[in-house]
């Protein structure tokens, strides 16, 4: 049969596309590392690629990433979930309550369950009752904050190390260090060699005192990518976000997939809450997520509704957060990184023939360069703004390239097929 002939060409087309995606991903990573390394050497701000900084960046990134993954799951099924913040808060409470009573592993499950409960509420409102997704999300955020504050006061006041607004001393989860490798990489990191030391810093961060939850999150990211793009379950789930009527006409139970998606979404946000209460520090306080749910959503958009894109964006936000807290002075060096990045991107756009956008980008890049050259520090307030400003800039510059699922945010009613 001639099918064999077609068979050969088709996968290669597919493979080429996927390969291309990963190639750009790696290319961007490489450029970032080189730029950081250059800037480190030029400015002497060793902290910007120190293993410990990167480790802290990963820790800061994890809750954002989990929220982002939560957003990804629901939006891929067509449900916008800005209730992530509230679900994350429910997760912080669940983690605290269940860890205190049953230990940290049950705590993780409890956090996911509380988050999923918030997801269920969102699902009921948006799927069954067809309420606007943003409206429901806003309401869930109000409920999430009120409920965790109320429940904390009701339950934690009488606990040991507890109070109406906090519960500390929760049992932690284990860490993993790769023996040998970790130390070797760290000393390599200290050498200050071009690129090699920086990469060693990154690898050291990945092999030193890594929380099992961080590993779990890495697994979640990979699993998400695999489930959504390589299983029939994922195909069905995504079809609900692209064209639910078509999915239903082919026998897909759209409501069920949307519910699964929004439950997973809430559960992941809840896990993000657990990360804050159990791993990032060992204690619960009220309103602990403090906007990380929203940043997770921003990371997902920034990452173009793609798990690895979301990972990259979360790491970026986590990195600026960690650097701001650990070495505010090194933030100044980042100005140079931004300037180089923008100028490089401008050159690339120019090469592609997009003159005006290249000029705009180039001017912004030059402004950053001037800022770097004429100052010694960045006002500390501004470093705190980084994730927000970066998000706005990315959206402003790249919104045309972003591609949300076609039926994202639309209310779908059963029986609309045909």
């Amino acid at each position: 049969m001639s099918t064999t002939q077609v068979d050969k060409s088709a996968p290669s087309e597919r493979a080429r596309k996927i390969g291309g995606m990963y190639r750009t991903y790696w290319l961007v990573m490489l450029v970032a590392v080189v730029a950081l390394s250059l800037v480190r050497i030029a400015t002497g701000a060793d902290d910007i690629t120190a293993a410990n900084t990167l480790r802290a960046a990963i820790l800061s990134a994890c809750p954002i990433l989990l929220a982002g993954m939560g957003g990804l799951w629901s939006e891929r099924a067509g449900i916008v979930n800005i209730g992530l913040e509230g679900q994350m808060l429910l997760g912080t409470w669940g983690a605290a309550y269940f860890t205190y009573n049953y230990g940290p592993w049950v705590g993780l499950l409890g956090a996911a369950a509380m988050g999923a409960l918030g997801g269920l509420l969102h699902g009921l409102a948006t799927i069954t009752f067809g309420v606007d997704h943003i409206v429901s999300g806003v309401a869930i955020n109000i409920i999430g904050l009120g409920a965790t504050t109320f429940l904390a006061e009701a339950f934690f006041s009488d606990y040991q190390y507890g109070g109406p607004r906090q519960l500390t001393g929760l049992d932690g989860l284990p860490f993993v260090t790769v023996p040998g490798l970790s130390d070797g990489l760290k000393s390599l990191n200290d050498q200050g060699w071009f690129v090699i030391s920086d990469l060693a810093g990154l690898l050291a961060a990945l092999t030193t005192k890594v929380s099992v939850v961080t590993i779990l999150i890495a697994v979640i990211v990979v699993l998400t990518a695999w489930i959504l793009w390589h299983t029939s379950f994922g195909l069905r789930l995504r079809s609900c976000g692209e064209n639910p009527a078509a999915a239903e006409s082919l026998g897909v139970n759209v409501y069920r997939y949307k519910y699964v998606a929004v439950l997973v979404s809430g559960g992941l946000a809840g896990l993000g809450g657990a990360f804050l209460a159990l791993v990032a520090a060992s204690g619960f306080t009220t309103n602990q997520s403090n906007g990380r749910g929203y940043i997770g959503l921003a990371a997902m958009i920034f990452g173009n509704w793609n798990p690895f894109g979301t990972l990259g964006a979360s790491l970026l936000f986590g990195y600026t957060d960690a650097l701001r807290l650990r070495s505010p002075s090194a933030v100044h060096a980042l100005l140079l990184v931004v300037a180089i990045g923008l100028l490089a991107y401008a050159a690339w756009r120019f090469y592609q023939g997009a003159r005006t956008s290249a000029i705009v980008l180039g001017l912004i890049g030059a402004a950053f360069l001037v800022w770097f050259l004429t100052t010694d520090t960045v006002p500390r307030e501004f470093t705190g703004m980084t994730p927000y400003v970066v998000t706005l800039l990315v959206l402003a510059l790249a919104s045309q390239r972003l591609r949300p699922p076609a039926a994202d945010g639309q209310v779908y009613r059963k029986g609309s097929a045909g």
């Binding site: 120190a50 410990n52 900084t53 802290a56 820790l59 800061s60 809750p63 504050t149 006061e153 006041s157 009488d158 190390y161 507890g162 109070g163 109406p164 607004r165 906090q166 500390t168 001393g169 005192k209 804050l276 990032a280 520090a281 060992s282 204690g283 306080t285 009220t286 309103n287 602990q288 403090n290 957060d321 960690a322 807290l325 650990r326 070495s327 505010p328 500390r380 307030e381 705190g384």
Partner: protein, 344 residues
């Protein structure tokens, strides 16, 4: 003097009170002493911090002065009118001593006090926001910089790496005072010791409520070589203690406001060198007593080393060996020989 051991004792009173928080003295008190209104800041009783400390002062008053009490608690983002209303409800219910915990009550008390000339008000950390003096209001201010100085001395004496750290919750004037005192204390012992300074937030009060941020900031300082880190960051402090635990043996954290050794977890306790004490309980009790005695305190009342309003704690016994040195500095401060700066 024995101000410190004294402090330790009182602090343990304070925890025994908060540990039995559910016992709730205000519910059962039925003496015929003064009637106290206690208006908590956000967090309320059980916050293991200055709300609890104020409660301890009231509990002591119930115990020793046959006082009765009423409690009210602030909510996040509440309107100014809610604070005023809370104070008025207390005054209307017959309280003759009303204490607002936290400077956020300054404006509300200034507005309410003139309507209740027979009631005496007190504000922790408070001040009169306008130029009309209120003759029935006492403003308690604490020389937190002096307490910070003393723990700075402790940090300087204990550091092996000649590097210590400070983590502030929010970069505002109040916390800058802690930083200034701490740095001065460290430098007084050895000017060559390096002090790393970090703040969790610049102005957003969520910096007092972010253990993860606190841990990241403190871990940064430990990673860079500090082995003692002092925090003034409210509920974020548990993150600083966690960072000390993770940094391992020989690394210390210093607590703030109350004796945090007593409320810390078993893991954290071996790392809590000392705490800078701000005796809100003393201020509260003194104020109530002054009302009961018929000579109510008014206007600015400063609590400092001299009147035991601030100090440091010794629980855990980690500073026993350097106690004499610290007390020596305390005496110099009391005598005015050392002037502790209030801003960095």
């Amino acid at each position: 003097s024995s101000s410190d051991s004294d402090g330790g004792d009182k602090a343990s009173d304070n925890t025994s009170a908060s540990a039995s928080a559910s016992a709730d003295v205000c519910k059962d008190a039925d003496g015929d002493g003064p009637k106290i209104g206690l208006a908590y800041d956000v967090g309320g009783r059980g916050d293991q911090s200055f709300n609890d400390s104020a409660y301890a002062g009231v509990a002591k008053a119930v115990d020793e002065l046959d006082a009765t009490c009423l409690e009210g608690e602030a909510q996040d983002a509440e309107p100014e009118s809610a604070r005023e209303d809370r104070l008025r409800q207390m005054a209307d219910a017959g309280a003759n001593a009303v204490v607002g915990v936290g400077f956020a009550y300054s404006d509300a008390i200034n507005a309410v006090a003139p309507d209740y000339p027979d009631v005496n008000f007190g504000v922790v950390d408070g001040f009169d926001p306008d130029d009309k003096p209120n003759d029935n209001v006492a403003y308690f201010s604490f020389a937190a910089n002096e307490a910070s100085f003393l723990v700075g001395v402790a940090a300087a004496e204990k550091t092996a790496s000649k590097q210590v750290g400070f983590v502030g919750g929010v970069h505002n004037d109040l916390i800058k005072g802690f930083e200034a005192g701490f740095t001065a204390g460290v430098k007084a012992v050895d000017p060559s010791i390096k002090v790393d300074v970090a703040y969790i937030e610049e102005s957003d009060l969520s910096g007092f409520n972010d253990p993860a941020g606190g841990k990241t900031a403190a871990a940064g300082e430990f990673d860079k070589g500090a082995d003692v880190v002092y925090h003034a960051s409210g509920a974020s402090g548990s993150g600083i203690f966690d960072a000390a635990v993770e940094a391992g043996d020989g690394n210390w954290a210093i607590g703030v406001d109350s004796d945090q050794y007593l409320t810390a977890t078993a893991d954290q306790q071996p790392h809590i060198l000392t705490s800078a004490l701000k005796r809100v309980d003393v201020a509260t009790f003194d104020f109530i007593k002054s009302v009961a005695d018929g000579s109510p305190k008014t206007s600015y009342v400063t609590y400092d080393l001299k009147n035991d309003g601030v100090g440091y704690s010794t629980s855990g016994g980690f500073v026993d060996d350097i106690k004499a040195d610290i007390d020596g500095y305390a005496d110099k401060i009391k005598s005015g020989e050392i002037k502790v700066p209030t801003a960095p």
